[in-house]
């Protein structure tokens, strides 16, 4: 992080300053930031490097997935193909747990859909920045979106850096580590043991705590966050899978829509 920040500001402060001054005079800071969204190699590089420590944690899950997939009867090639094309950790791990002979195709695909519906919400949250990019760039970046790099990208774009290529850079880091770790896990089997031994299973939770600190905007944030928390905890206890993420987010947004009218 620090080495990126070290050379980053010199690159991105310049265009942002000129546009903020000339355009909307700071009335709508979000619009000013969105107007200055760029898409360049520097942004990809910054995203990739920022995501490396997180991608290492993702690698821990990837090894676990590779081993689970082998145990479920997938070949190394099939496990690798799944990681390279699906790129959704929780859904893949659940899918190989459902795997049986014959393959319950409809169950596997529908469960994958249900677990991953939250990505629609997450992609929509990136909308204000991504809509300034061409369709091939925005949609191409979104396909590489996962929980971890969405979190880092949200943080980056909310800071106003305008690095639209950040999602692609972080996504590439996640993809490389996820696929490589799957191959290692599937090929090496039980040699590595439990990723929890190195605390790597905690990386995802840690990323989200750090992000919550960044996203906290004081009192106005309190009510929607409490609604999200209560909805998610209750839903997680009642429903299987990852519905709680989707429902928690939607409940908070709904409450905010109602509150906004008053």
């Amino acid at each position: 992080m620090s080495e990126i920040d070290g050379n980053g500001p010199a690159e991105d402060v310049r265009p942002r300053d000129t546009r903020d001054d000339s355009a909307d005079g700071g009335r709508e800071a979000a619009d000013g930031d969105a107007a200055a969204v760029t898409f360049d190699r520097e942004g990809i590089r910054a995203g990739f490097l920022t995501c490396l420590p997180v991608a290492l944690g993702v690698g821990g899950y990837g090894i676990a997935f590779g081993m689970l997939a082998r145990r479920a009867g997938l070949s190394v090639a099939e496990a690798t193909l799944m990681s390279a094309t699906v790129l959704a950790g929780a859904a893949q791990i659940v899918a190989v747990e459902l795997w049986a002979e014959p393959i319950p195709v409809a169950t596997v695909v529908l469960t994958t859909l249900a677990i991953n519906l939250r990505y629609s919400l997450m992609g929509a949250a990136l909308g204000p920045w991504l809509e300034r990019l061409s369709p091939s760039r925005s949609y191409g970046s979104l396909v590489l979106m996962a929980d971890e790099n969405w979190a880092l990208t949200m943080r980056e774009l909310k800071s106003g850096s305008g690095r639209g290529a950040f999602l692609l850079g972080t996504g590439l880091a996640i993809w490389v580590f996820w696929v490589a770790a799957t191959i290692v896990g599937a090929a090496a089997g039980g040699v590595i043991g439990d990723p929890a031994r190195y605390g790597l299973d905690f990386v995802l939770a840690a990323v989200f705590v750090a992000l919550a600190v960044d996203l906290w905007e004081g009192r106005p944030t309190l009510v929607p966050w409490l609604v999200a928390l209560a909805t998610a905890v209750v839903t997680a206890a009642l429903l299987p899978g990852r519905w709680y993420i989707l429902l928690g987010g939607l409940a908070a947004a709904a409450v905010e829509v109602v509150r906004h009218g008053r």
Binding site: A77, E78, A228
Partner: protein, 106 residues
């Protein structure tokens, strides 16, 4: 070293994997696609603006609830380091180090 069948690609398995990849890609681009085509009112925008934080909390809540004192303590370390330094790498390293130590203690 490569076991028999490690490179096997069964058509039905490959088909299932590609179907999973397709629905996943649709979920990833779908929300953004829909949003670009809707006329977004002020109220809807206010609702969408709380989404990032709300989703983070919704992911975090049950995850921490399922953990124990070691995870809660480590989450506290991340919170504190992040709040004080605003350095995500430092916060992550602190949290992962703390969880290993706390799990050994608890």
């Amino acid at each position: 070293m490569v076991a028999d069948g490690a490179l096997a690609l069964e058509p039905l398995v490959v088909g299932t994997i590609l179907a999973m990849a397709l629905v996943t890609a649709l979920t990833k681009v779908g929300g953004f696609w829909l949003l670009r085509r809707l006329e977004v009112s002020d109220r809807l925008e206010a609702g969408l603006s709380v989404l990032p934080g709300a989703i983070v909390i919704a992911i975090l809540g049950p995850e921490l609830a399922a953990g124990g004192p070691a995870e809660w303590g480590a989450a506290g370390v991340v919170l504190l380091v992040m709040w004080r330094t605003e350095n995500i790498l430092l916060a992550l390293c602190g949290g992962v180090g703390a969880v290993v130590v706390f799990r050994a203690l608890v």
